[in-house]
Protein backbone atom coordinates (compact mmCIF):
# COMPACT_ATOMS: atom_id res chain seq x y z
CA UNK A 1 0.00 0.00 0.00
CA UNK A 2 2.08 2.89 -1.20
CA UNK A 3 -0.30 5.52 0.13
CA UNK A 4 0.13 4.64 3.77
CA UNK A 5 3.89 4.72 3.41
CA UNK A 6 3.57 8.17 1.90
CA UNK A 7 1.48 9.49 4.78
CA UNK A 8 3.97 8.12 7.25
CA UNK A 9 6.82 9.88 5.51
CA UNK A 10 4.99 13.18 5.43
CA UNK A 11 4.25 13.25 9.17
CA UNK A 12 6.78 14.89 11.44
CA UNK A 13 9.41 12.58 12.91
CA UNK A 14 8.58 11.57 16.49
CA UNK A 15 10.34 9.35 18.94
CA UNK A 16 8.71 5.98 19.33
CA UNK A 17 7.34 6.38 22.89
CA UNK A 18 5.96 9.85 22.11
CA UNK A 19 4.31 8.51 18.97
CA UNK A 20 2.81 5.55 20.83
CA UNK A 21 1.42 7.81 23.52
CA UNK A 22 -0.02 10.22 20.95
CA UNK A 23 -1.64 7.35 19.12
CA UNK A 24 -3.19 5.97 22.27
CA UNK A 25 -4.63 9.32 23.27
CA UNK A 26 -5.95 10.08 19.79
CA UNK A 27 -9.16 8.28 18.88
CA UNK A 28 -8.69 5.04 16.97
CA UNK A 29 -11.44 5.93 14.55
CA UNK A 30 -12.62 9.47 13.89
CA UNK A 31 -15.52 10.23 11.57
CA UNK A 32 -16.02 13.84 10.48
CA UNK A 33 -18.76 15.22 8.26
CA UNK A 34 -19.26 11.86 6.54
CA UNK A 35 -21.75 11.92 3.68
CA UNK A 36 -22.81 8.96 1.54
CA UNK A 37 -25.02 8.26 -1.45
CA UNK A 38 -26.67 5.22 -3.01
CA UNK A 39 -27.25 6.14 -6.62
CA UNK A 40 -29.30 9.32 -6.51
CA UNK A 41 -30.37 9.05 -2.90
CA UNK A 42 -28.37 10.91 -0.30
CA UNK A 43 -28.28 8.71 2.82
CA UNK A 44 -25.73 10.25 5.21
CA UNK A 45 -25.77 14.01 5.67
CA UNK A 46 -22.68 14.59 7.79
CA UNK A 47 -21.99 11.99 10.45
CA UNK A 48 -19.53 12.80 13.25
CA UNK A 49 -18.31 10.47 16.00
CA UNK A 50 -15.17 8.88 17.35
CA UNK A 51 -14.04 5.76 19.15
CA UNK A 52 -11.04 5.45 21.46
CA UNK A 53 -8.75 2.42 21.76
CA UNK A 54 -10.47 -0.50 23.45
CA UNK A 55 -13.85 1.23 23.57
CA UNK A 56 -17.16 -0.41 22.76
CA UNK A 57 -19.49 2.09 21.16
CA UNK A 58 -22.91 1.55 19.64
CA UNK A 59 -24.81 3.36 16.95
CA UNK A 60 -28.49 3.43 17.89
CA UNK A 61 -31.40 4.65 15.84
CA UNK A 62 -34.53 3.71 14.03
CA UNK A 63 -34.70 1.80 10.80
CA UNK A 64 -33.35 3.89 7.98
CA UNK A 65 -31.45 6.32 10.23
CA UNK A 66 -28.23 5.43 8.40
CA UNK A 67 -26.49 3.13 10.90
CA UNK A 68 -25.68 0.35 8.44
CA UNK A 69 -24.68 2.88 5.79
CA UNK A 70 -22.30 4.45 8.30
CA UNK A 71 -20.54 1.11 8.82
CA UNK A 72 -20.42 0.51 5.09
CA UNK A 73 -19.04 3.99 4.51
CA UNK A 74 -16.28 3.44 7.03
CA UNK A 75 -15.52 0.17 5.25
CA UNK A 76 -15.62 1.85 1.83
CA UNK A 77 -18.42 -0.20 0.28
CA UNK A 78 -20.91 2.53 -0.60
CA UNK A 79 -21.10 3.92 -4.12
CA UNK A 80 -20.07 7.43 -3.18
CA UNK A 81 -18.92 9.12 0.02
CA UNK A 82 -17.29 12.34 1.12
CA UNK A 83 -16.05 13.85 4.36
CA UNK A 84 -13.37 12.36 6.52
CA UNK A 85 -12.83 8.99 8.18
CA UNK A 86 -9.48 8.50 9.86
CA UNK A 87 -8.20 5.30 11.37
CA UNK A 88 -4.99 5.51 13.44
CA UNK A 89 -4.62 8.93 11.86
CA UNK A 90 -4.88 7.69 8.27
CA UNK A 91 -7.52 8.97 5.92
CA UNK A 92 -9.81 6.20 4.61
CA UNK A 93 -12.05 8.17 2.25
CA UNK A 94 -10.80 7.71 -1.29
CA UNK A 95 -9.45 4.21 -0.75
CA UNK A 96 -11.07 0.93 -1.79
CA UNK A 97 -12.38 -1.45 0.84
CA UNK A 98 -9.63 -4.05 0.41
CA UNK A 99 -7.00 -1.45 1.39
CA UNK A 100 -9.11 -0.26 4.34
CA UNK A 101 -9.46 -3.83 5.61
CA UNK A 102 -5.69 -4.29 5.38
CA UNK A 103 -5.17 -1.37 7.77
CA UNK A 104 -6.90 -3.33 10.51
CA UNK A 105 -10.67 -2.95 10.27
CA UNK A 106 -12.84 -6.06 10.17
CA UNK A 107 -16.47 -6.04 9.12
CA UNK A 108 -19.33 -8.34 10.05
CA UNK A 109 -22.32 -7.48 7.85
CA UNK A 110 -25.96 -7.45 8.89
CA UNK A 111 -26.88 -10.27 6.51
CA UNK A 112 -23.88 -12.19 7.95
CA UNK A 113 -22.50 -13.00 4.51
CA UNK A 114 -21.78 -16.68 5.09
CA UNK A 115 -20.62 -18.26 1.81
CA UNK A 116 -22.67 -21.25 0.76
CA UNK A 117 -19.98 -22.67 -1.48
CA UNK A 118 -17.52 -22.78 1.44
CA UNK A 119 -17.66 -25.06 4.45
CA UNK A 120 -17.49 -23.69 7.99
CA UNK A 121 -13.72 -23.92 8.29
CA UNK A 122 -13.18 -22.41 4.84
CA UNK A 123 -15.46 -19.55 5.86
CA UNK A 124 -13.39 -19.07 9.02
CA UNK A 125 -10.12 -19.10 7.11
CA UNK A 126 -11.32 -16.82 4.30
CA UNK A 127 -10.47 -13.31 5.60
CA UNK A 128 -6.71 -12.90 5.32
CA UNK A 129 -4.60 -12.06 8.36
CA UNK A 130 -3.82 -8.35 8.14
CA UNK A 131 -1.93 -7.77 11.38
CA UNK A 132 -0.13 -9.97 13.89
CA UNK A 133 -1.87 -10.73 17.17
CA UNK A 134 -5.12 -12.17 15.85
CA UNK A 135 -6.73 -15.19 17.45
CA UNK A 136 -5.74 -18.65 16.31
CA UNK A 137 -8.20 -21.09 14.84
CA UNK A 138 -7.97 -23.13 18.07
CA UNK A 139 -8.85 -20.07 20.18
CA UNK A 140 -11.81 -19.30 17.94
CA UNK A 141 -13.06 -22.89 18.23
CA UNK A 142 -12.65 -22.60 22.01
CA UNK A 143 -14.87 -19.51 21.95
CA UNK A 144 -17.39 -21.16 19.59
CA UNK A 145 -17.36 -24.92 20.25
CA UNK A 146 -20.35 -25.46 17.93
CA UNK A 147 -18.34 -24.31 14.96
CA UNK A 148 -15.66 -26.91 15.53
CA UNK A 149 -18.23 -29.69 15.65
CA UNK A 150 -19.61 -28.58 12.31
CA UNK A 151 -16.44 -27.42 10.59
CA UNK A 152 -17.02 -29.59 7.51
CA UNK A 153 -20.65 -28.49 7.04
CA UNK A 154 -21.68 -26.12 4.31
CA UNK A 155 -21.65 -22.60 5.81
CA UNK A 156 -25.27 -21.80 5.10
CA UNK A 157 -26.52 -25.10 6.56
CA UNK A 158 -25.90 -23.78 10.09
CA UNK A 159 -28.65 -22.34 12.26
CA UNK A 160 -29.07 -18.57 12.37
CA UNK A 161 -27.25 -18.30 15.70
CA UNK A 162 -24.39 -20.48 14.52
CA UNK A 163 -24.09 -18.46 11.32
CA UNK A 164 -23.82 -15.29 13.42
CA UNK A 165 -21.09 -16.88 15.54
CA UNK A 166 -19.31 -17.90 12.34
CA UNK A 167 -19.60 -14.37 10.97
CA UNK A 168 -18.06 -12.96 14.15
CA UNK A 169 -15.50 -15.74 14.59
CA UNK A 170 -14.34 -15.31 11.02
CA UNK A 171 -13.04 -11.78 11.59
CA UNK A 172 -11.15 -12.54 14.82
CA UNK A 173 -8.29 -14.31 13.07
CA UNK A 174 -7.32 -11.29 11.04
CA UNK A 175 -5.62 -9.35 13.82
CA UNK A 176 -7.69 -6.27 13.04
CA UNK A 177 -8.03 -4.21 16.24
CA UNK A 178 -11.32 -2.57 15.18
CA UNK A 179 -14.44 -4.68 14.65
CA UNK A 180 -17.57 -3.33 12.94
CA UNK A 181 -20.55 -5.46 13.96
CA UNK A 182 -23.87 -4.82 12.22
CA UNK A 183 -26.87 -5.99 14.28
CA UNK A 184 -25.41 -9.28 15.49
CA UNK A 185 -28.54 -10.08 17.51
CA UNK A 186 -31.09 -9.55 14.77
CA UNK A 187 -33.66 -12.32 14.52
CA UNK A 188 -32.05 -14.54 17.16
CA UNK A 189 -33.59 -16.28 20.16
CA UNK A 190 -33.08 -14.59 23.57
CA UNK A 191 -30.72 -17.28 24.84
CA UNK A 192 -28.50 -16.80 21.78
CA UNK A 193 -28.64 -13.02 22.13
CA UNK A 194 -27.37 -13.51 25.68
CA UNK A 195 -24.54 -15.71 24.45
CA UNK A 196 -23.56 -13.12 21.86
CA UNK A 197 -23.53 -10.47 24.58
CA UNK A 198 -21.07 -12.61 26.55
CA UNK A 199 -18.90 -13.03 23.51
CA UNK A 200 -18.86 -9.31 22.77
CA UNK A 201 -17.84 -8.53 26.36
CA UNK A 202 -15.16 -11.20 26.12
CA UNK A 203 -13.83 -9.59 22.92
CA UNK A 204 -13.73 -6.19 24.60
CA UNK A 205 -11.79 -7.64 27.51
CA UNK A 206 -9.29 -9.04 25.03
CA UNK A 207 -8.63 -5.47 23.86
CA UNK A 208 -10.71 -5.26 20.66
CA UNK A 209 -12.26 -1.92 19.82
CA UNK A 210 -15.84 -2.47 18.72
CA UNK A 211 -18.35 -0.36 16.81
CA UNK A 212 -21.72 -2.01 17.18
CA UNK A 213 -24.89 -1.19 15.28
CA UNK A 214 -27.99 -2.15 17.23
CA UNK A 215 -31.74 -1.78 17.15
CA UNK A 216 -32.06 -3.65 20.42
CA UNK A 217 -31.19 -0.91 22.88
CA UNK A 218 -31.61 -3.12 25.94
CA UNK A 219 -28.96 -5.39 24.54
CA UNK A 220 -26.73 -2.47 23.62
CA UNK A 221 -26.99 -1.00 27.12
CA UNK A 222 -25.57 -4.19 28.64
CA UNK A 223 -22.37 -4.18 26.60
CA UNK A 224 -21.42 -0.67 25.47
CA UNK A 225 -19.42 2.19 26.99
CA UNK A 226 -21.18 4.90 25.01
CA UNK A 227 -24.07 5.23 22.58
CA UNK A 228 -24.36 7.50 19.59
CA UNK A 229 -27.92 8.14 18.45
CA UNK A 230 -28.56 8.56 14.72
CA UNK A 231 -31.50 10.22 13.01
CA UNK A 232 -31.94 10.97 9.29
CA UNK A 233 -28.33 10.38 8.38
CA UNK A 234 -26.79 12.37 11.25
CA UNK A 235 -25.51 11.68 14.75
CA UNK A 236 -27.87 13.68 16.96
CA UNK A 237 -26.82 12.70 20.46
CA UNK A 238 -24.26 10.86 22.54
CA UNK A 239 -25.12 9.15 25.81
CA UNK A 240 -22.66 7.34 28.06
CA UNK A 241 -23.84 3.99 29.40
CA UNK A 242 -23.64 5.32 32.93
CA UNK A 243 -26.16 8.05 32.07
CA UNK A 244 -28.65 5.81 30.28
CA UNK A 245 -31.00 5.59 33.27
CA UNK A 246 -31.37 9.40 33.52
CA UNK A 247 -31.94 9.66 29.79
CA UNK A 248 -34.26 6.74 29.31
CA UNK A 249 -37.20 8.92 28.28
CA UNK A 250 -35.15 10.80 25.72
CA UNK A 251 -33.78 7.56 24.30
CA UNK A 252 -37.21 6.03 23.97
CA UNK A 253 -38.34 9.10 22.07
CA UNK A 254 -35.35 8.80 19.72
CA UNK A 255 -35.94 5.15 19.05
CA UNK A 256 -39.71 5.36 18.94
CA UNK A 257 -40.23 2.49 21.37
Amino acid sequence: MPWCRKSRQSSKPMSVPVMAEALLKAPLLKVDGLQAWYGESHILHGVDFEIGHGELVTLLGRNGAGKTTTLKSVMGIVEKRSGSVTFEGRQLVGHPSNEIARLGIAYCPEERGIFSSLNVEENLLLPPVVKPGGMSLAEIYQLFPNLEERKRSQGTKLSGGEQQMLAIGRILRTGAPLLLLDEPTEGLAPVIVQRIGEIIRELKSRGFTILLVEQNFHFAATVADRHYVMEDGRVVDMIASADVQQNIGKLQAYLGV
Binding site: I77, N98, A106, L126
Partner: protein
Protein backbone atom coordinates in the same frame (compact mmCIF):
# COMPACT_ATOMS: atom_id res chain seq x y z
CA UNK B 1 -12.14 -61.27 -33.79
CA UNK B 2 -15.43 -60.48 -32.11
CA UNK B 3 -17.91 -58.01 -33.49
CA UNK B 4 -20.34 -55.75 -31.63
CA UNK B 5 -23.69 -55.24 -33.34
CA UNK B 6 -21.95 -55.73 -36.64
CA UNK B 7 -19.35 -53.06 -35.92
CA UNK B 8 -15.70 -54.14 -36.13
CA UNK B 9 -13.99 -53.40 -32.80
CA UNK B 10 -11.22 -51.35 -34.42
CA UNK B 11 -13.81 -48.89 -35.70
CA UNK B 12 -15.72 -48.86 -32.42
CA UNK B 13 -12.73 -48.28 -30.16
CA UNK B 14 -11.09 -45.94 -32.64
CA UNK B 15 -14.16 -43.72 -32.61
CA UNK B 16 -14.46 -43.98 -28.84
CA UNK B 17 -10.88 -42.75 -28.55
CA UNK B 18 -11.64 -39.86 -30.89
CA UNK B 19 -14.73 -39.14 -28.82
CA UNK B 20 -12.67 -39.11 -25.62
CA UNK B 21 -10.21 -36.69 -27.20
CA UNK B 22 -12.97 -34.35 -28.35
CA UNK B 23 -14.54 -34.74 -24.92
CA UNK B 24 -11.24 -33.74 -23.34
CA UNK B 25 -11.32 -30.48 -25.27
CA UNK B 26 -15.00 -29.90 -24.47
CA UNK B 27 -14.23 -30.44 -20.79
CA UNK B 28 -11.23 -28.11 -20.68
CA UNK B 29 -13.01 -25.37 -22.61
CA UNK B 30 -16.32 -25.54 -20.77
CA UNK B 31 -14.45 -25.55 -17.48
CA UNK B 32 -12.73 -22.28 -18.36
CA UNK B 33 -15.97 -20.81 -19.66
CA UNK B 34 -17.77 -21.68 -16.41
CA UNK B 35 -15.05 -20.28 -14.15
CA UNK B 36 -14.87 -17.06 -16.15
CA UNK B 37 -18.64 -16.68 -16.14
CA UNK B 38 -18.78 -17.18 -12.38
CA UNK B 39 -16.32 -14.37 -11.68
CA UNK B 40 -16.77 -11.96 -14.58
CA UNK B 41 -20.43 -12.46 -15.49
CA UNK B 42 -19.23 -12.69 -19.07
CA UNK B 43 -19.72 -15.57 -21.48
CA UNK B 44 -16.34 -15.53 -23.12
CA UNK B 45 -17.07 -15.87 -26.84
CA UNK B 46 -13.36 -15.30 -27.45
CA UNK B 47 -12.68 -18.72 -25.91
CA UNK B 48 -12.47 -20.46 -29.30
CA UNK B 49 -10.14 -17.80 -30.67
CA UNK B 50 -7.94 -18.11 -27.58
CA UNK B 51 -7.81 -21.89 -28.03
CA UNK B 52 -6.69 -21.25 -31.60
CA UNK B 53 -4.09 -18.76 -30.35
CA UNK B 54 -2.65 -21.44 -28.08
CA UNK B 55 -2.21 -23.80 -31.01
CA UNK B 56 -0.77 -21.01 -33.16
CA UNK B 57 1.61 -19.88 -30.44
CA UNK B 58 3.00 -23.41 -30.18
CA UNK B 59 3.28 -23.70 -33.97
CA UNK B 60 5.03 -20.32 -34.30
CA UNK B 61 7.38 -21.19 -31.45
CA UNK B 62 8.29 -24.40 -33.24
CA UNK B 63 8.66 -23.08 -36.78
CA UNK B 64 10.30 -19.74 -36.01
CA UNK B 65 12.14 -20.21 -32.73
CA UNK B 66 12.64 -23.99 -32.76
CA UNK B 67 11.01 -24.27 -29.35
CA UNK B 68 9.97 -27.90 -28.81
CA UNK B 69 6.43 -28.99 -27.98
CA UNK B 70 7.05 -29.66 -24.30
CA UNK B 71 8.35 -26.16 -23.70
CA UNK B 72 5.54 -24.63 -25.77
CA UNK B 73 3.05 -26.60 -23.68
CA UNK B 74 4.05 -24.37 -20.76
CA UNK B 75 5.05 -21.21 -22.58
CA UNK B 76 2.14 -20.80 -25.03
CA UNK B 77 -0.63 -20.81 -22.37
CA UNK B 78 1.32 -18.23 -20.37
CA UNK B 79 1.69 -15.95 -23.40
CA UNK B 80 -1.98 -16.28 -24.38
CA UNK B 81 -3.05 -15.96 -20.73
CA UNK B 82 -1.15 -12.67 -20.49
CA UNK B 83 -2.94 -11.54 -23.62
CA UNK B 84 -6.17 -12.34 -21.77
CA UNK B 85 -5.01 -10.29 -18.78
CA UNK B 86 -4.47 -7.28 -21.05
CA UNK B 87 -7.90 -7.79 -22.65
CA UNK B 88 -9.54 -7.90 -19.23
CA UNK B 89 -7.75 -4.79 -17.98
CA UNK B 90 -8.36 -2.74 -21.10
CA UNK B 91 -11.90 -3.77 -22.05
CA UNK B 92 -13.81 -6.40 -20.11
CA UNK B 93 -13.53 -4.71 -16.73
CA UNK B 94 -15.42 -1.72 -18.08
CA UNK B 95 -18.57 -3.70 -18.88
CA UNK B 96 -19.13 -5.92 -15.80
CA UNK B 97 -21.91 -3.67 -14.56
CA UNK B 98 -23.87 -4.04 -17.81
CA UNK B 99 -26.27 -6.76 -18.93
CA UNK B 100 -24.61 -10.10 -19.76
CA UNK B 101 -25.39 -9.66 -23.42
CA UNK B 102 -22.85 -6.84 -23.79
CA UNK B 103 -20.04 -9.07 -22.59
CA UNK B 104 -21.22 -11.68 -25.07
CA UNK B 105 -21.25 -9.14 -27.92
CA UNK B 106 -17.92 -7.63 -26.96
CA UNK B 107 -16.15 -10.98 -26.82
CA UNK B 108 -17.88 -12.04 -30.05
CA UNK B 109 -16.46 -8.93 -31.73
CA UNK B 110 -13.02 -9.66 -30.30
CA UNK B 111 -13.21 -13.21 -31.65
CA UNK B 112 -13.98 -11.84 -35.13
CA UNK B 113 -11.02 -9.47 -34.91
CA UNK B 114 -8.57 -12.10 -33.68
CA UNK B 115 -9.65 -14.84 -36.09
CA UNK B 116 -9.80 -12.37 -38.98
CA UNK B 117 -6.28 -11.16 -38.30
CA UNK B 118 -4.88 -14.68 -38.07
CA UNK B 119 -6.69 -15.64 -41.27
CA UNK B 120 -5.33 -12.58 -43.03
CA UNK B 121 -1.76 -13.28 -41.93
CA UNK B 122 -1.64 -17.07 -42.24
CA UNK B 123 -4.62 -17.99 -44.41
CA UNK B 124 -7.27 -20.49 -43.44
CA UNK B 125 -5.86 -23.70 -44.90
CA UNK B 126 -4.02 -24.76 -41.78
CA UNK B 127 -0.56 -26.06 -41.05
CA UNK B 128 0.44 -29.45 -39.66
CA UNK B 129 2.23 -29.76 -36.32
CA UNK B 130 4.42 -32.85 -36.04
CA UNK B 131 3.46 -35.27 -33.31
CA UNK B 132 5.83 -34.93 -30.36
CA UNK B 133 5.42 -38.62 -29.49
CA UNK B 134 5.13 -40.52 -32.77
CA UNK B 135 4.25 -44.19 -32.88
CA UNK B 136 1.72 -46.19 -31.01
CA UNK B 137 0.77 -49.50 -29.51
CA UNK B 138 -1.37 -52.28 -30.91
CA UNK B 139 -3.71 -53.17 -28.08
CA UNK B 140 -5.17 -56.13 -29.98
CA UNK B 141 -8.65 -54.65 -30.27
CA UNK B 142 -7.34 -51.33 -31.60
CA UNK B 143 -4.25 -49.32 -32.47
CA UNK B 144 -3.51 -46.58 -29.94
CA UNK B 145 -1.33 -43.70 -31.19
CA UNK B 146 0.80 -42.77 -28.19
CA UNK B 147 0.20 -39.03 -28.46
CA UNK B 148 -3.57 -39.42 -28.52
CA UNK B 149 -3.45 -41.55 -25.40
CA UNK B 150 -1.28 -38.88 -23.82
CA UNK B 151 -3.80 -36.14 -24.69
CA UNK B 152 -6.64 -37.95 -22.95
CA UNK B 153 -4.59 -38.56 -19.81
CA UNK B 154 -3.13 -35.04 -19.80
CA UNK B 155 -6.56 -33.42 -20.22
CA UNK B 156 -7.94 -35.53 -17.40
CA UNK B 157 -5.05 -34.51 -15.15
CA UNK B 158 -5.47 -30.83 -16.10
CA UNK B 159 -9.19 -30.97 -15.34
CA UNK B 160 -8.63 -32.65 -11.98
CA UNK B 161 -5.89 -30.19 -11.03
CA UNK B 162 -8.27 -27.34 -11.91
CA UNK B 163 -10.99 -28.95 -9.83
CA UNK B 164 -8.59 -29.35 -6.91
CA UNK B 165 -7.39 -25.77 -7.25
CA UNK B 166 -10.89 -24.38 -7.11
CA UNK B 167 -12.47 -26.73 -4.57
CA UNK B 168 -9.60 -27.44 -2.20
CA UNK B 169 -7.15 -24.53 -2.03
CA UNK B 170 -7.11 -21.11 -0.39
CA UNK B 171 -7.06 -19.32 -3.74
CA UNK B 172 -9.99 -21.46 -4.86
CA UNK B 173 -11.90 -20.51 -1.70
CA UNK B 174 -11.33 -16.81 -2.52
CA UNK B 175 -12.62 -17.51 -6.00
CA UNK B 176 -15.74 -19.34 -4.88
CA UNK B 177 -16.48 -16.71 -2.24
CA UNK B 178 -15.93 -13.83 -4.68
CA UNK B 179 -18.27 -15.50 -7.17
CA UNK B 180 -20.97 -15.36 -4.48
CA UNK B 181 -20.33 -11.97 -2.90
CA UNK B 182 -17.44 -9.95 -4.34
CA UNK B 183 -18.19 -6.87 -2.21
CA UNK B 184 -17.79 -8.71 1.08
CA UNK B 185 -14.69 -10.60 -0.05
CA UNK B 186 -13.14 -7.28 -0.98
CA UNK B 187 -14.11 -5.80 2.39
CA UNK B 188 -12.09 -8.61 4.01
CA UNK B 189 -8.99 -7.19 2.36
CA UNK B 190 -8.76 -9.27 -0.79
CA UNK B 191 -8.02 -7.40 -3.98
CA UNK B 192 -11.03 -8.68 -5.90
CA UNK B 193 -10.38 -6.76 -9.14
CA UNK B 194 -6.97 -8.41 -9.32
CA UNK B 195 -8.57 -11.78 -8.54
CA UNK B 196 -10.96 -11.25 -11.45
CA UNK B 197 -8.11 -10.40 -13.82
CA UNK B 198 -6.25 -13.48 -12.62
CA UNK B 199 -9.31 -15.66 -13.16
CA UNK B 200 -9.71 -14.47 -16.71
CA UNK B 201 -6.01 -15.00 -17.39
CA UNK B 202 -6.21 -18.55 -16.00
CA UNK B 203 -9.38 -19.37 -17.96
CA UNK B 204 -7.83 -18.09 -21.16
CA UNK B 205 -4.61 -19.94 -20.40
CA UNK B 206 -6.62 -23.13 -19.98
CA UNK B 207 -8.18 -22.62 -23.41
CA UNK B 208 -4.73 -22.02 -24.89
CA UNK B 209 -3.40 -25.15 -23.19
CA UNK B 210 -6.17 -27.13 -24.87
CA UNK B 211 -5.14 -25.50 -28.14
CA UNK B 212 -1.51 -26.58 -27.73
CA UNK B 213 -2.62 -30.14 -27.01
CA UNK B 214 -4.83 -30.05 -30.09
CA UNK B 215 -2.12 -28.75 -32.44
CA UNK B 216 -0.52 -32.13 -33.26
CA UNK B 217 -3.95 -33.76 -33.76
CA UNK B 218 -5.73 -31.15 -35.85
CA UNK B 219 -4.42 -28.74 -38.41
CA UNK B 220 -3.35 -25.46 -36.87
CA UNK B 221 -5.66 -22.95 -38.54
CA UNK B 222 -7.22 -19.58 -37.83
CA UNK B 223 -10.73 -20.99 -37.68
CA UNK B 224 -10.06 -24.18 -35.67
CA UNK B 225 -11.86 -22.73 -32.65
CA UNK B 226 -14.84 -21.17 -34.42
CA UNK B 227 -17.13 -24.18 -34.56
CA UNK B 228 -15.68 -25.70 -31.42
CA UNK B 229 -16.80 -22.80 -29.24
CA UNK B 230 -20.37 -23.20 -30.50
CA UNK B 231 -20.40 -26.87 -29.50
CA UNK B 232 -18.91 -25.91 -26.14
CA UNK B 233 -21.80 -23.49 -25.60
CA UNK B 234 -24.17 -26.43 -26.05
CA UNK B 235 -22.04 -28.45 -23.62
CA UNK B 236 -22.31 -25.65 -21.07
CA UNK B 237 -26.09 -25.47 -21.51
CA UNK B 238 -26.32 -29.24 -21.05
CA UNK B 239 -24.10 -29.37 -17.97
CA UNK B 240 -25.11 -26.11 -16.34
CA UNK B 241 -22.35 -23.83 -15.10
CA UNK B 242 -22.86 -24.44 -11.41
CA UNK B 243 -20.41 -27.26 -10.84
CA UNK B 244 -16.78 -27.77 -11.80
CA UNK B 245 -16.99 -31.56 -11.69
CA UNK B 246 -20.22 -31.30 -13.67
CA UNK B 247 -18.42 -29.49 -16.49
CA UNK B 248 -15.72 -32.16 -16.62
CA UNK B 249 -18.12 -35.10 -16.62
CA UNK B 250 -20.43 -33.46 -19.18
CA UNK B 251 -17.52 -32.62 -21.49
CA UNK B 252 -16.05 -36.13 -21.56
CA UNK B 253 -19.50 -37.73 -21.65
CA UNK B 254 -20.64 -35.74 -24.66
CA UNK B 255 -17.40 -36.51 -26.48
CA UNK B 256 -18.14 -40.21 -26.00
CA UNK B 257 -21.74 -39.77 -27.15
CA UNK B 258 -20.44 -38.08 -30.27
CA UNK B 259 -17.95 -40.90 -30.87
CA UNK B 260 -20.63 -43.55 -30.50
CA UNK B 261 -22.87 -41.68 -32.92
CA UNK B 262 -20.06 -41.71 -35.46
CA UNK B 263 -20.01 -45.49 -35.20
CA UNK B 264 -23.71 -46.22 -35.30
CA UNK B 265 -25.20 -43.34 -37.30
CA UNK B 266 -22.46 -41.17 -38.82
CA UNK B 267 -24.70 -38.49 -40.43
CA UNK B 268 -25.94 -37.39 -37.00
CA UNK B 269 -22.50 -37.07 -35.42
CA UNK B 270 -22.31 -33.32 -36.08
CA UNK B 271 -25.68 -32.61 -34.56
CA UNK B 272 -26.04 -35.15 -31.76
CA UNK B 273 -24.80 -32.76 -29.06
CA UNK B 274 -27.42 -30.19 -30.06
CA UNK B 275 -30.09 -32.89 -29.95
CA UNK B 276 -28.93 -33.82 -26.45
CA UNK B 277 -29.19 -30.14 -25.56
CA UNK B 278 -32.80 -30.03 -26.79
CA UNK B 279 -33.66 -33.11 -24.73
CA UNK B 280 -32.00 -31.72 -21.62
CA UNK B 281 -33.90 -28.44 -22.06
CA UNK B 282 -37.12 -30.43 -22.17
CA UNK B 283 -36.37 -32.66 -19.22
CA UNK B 284 -34.12 -30.62 -16.93
CA UNK B 285 -33.97 -27.02 -18.15
CA UNK B 286 -31.39 -25.91 -15.59
CA UNK B 287 -28.88 -28.40 -16.98
CA UNK B 288 -27.68 -31.75 -15.65
CA UNK B 289 -25.58 -30.19 -12.87
CA UNK B 290 -27.23 -26.78 -12.68
CA UNK B 291 -29.01 -25.41 -9.66
CA UNK B 292 -32.68 -24.84 -10.28
CA UNK B 293 -33.45 -21.22 -9.61
Amino acid sequence: MFELLGIPPQALFGQLLLGLINGAFYAMLSLGLAVIFGMLNVINFTHGAQYMMGAFAAWLMLTILDIPFWVALVLAPIVVGLFGVVLEKVMLKRIYHLDHLYGFLLTFGLALVIEGLFQWKWGSSGAPYPSPIPGGTNLGFMFLPTYRGFVVVAALVICLVTWYGIERTRLGAYLRAATENPTLVRAFGINVPRLITLTYGLGVGLAALAGVLAAPIQQVSALMGTNLVLVVFAVVVIGGMGSIMGSIVTGFGLGLVEGLTKVFYPPASNTVIFVVMAIVLLVKPAGLFGQTK
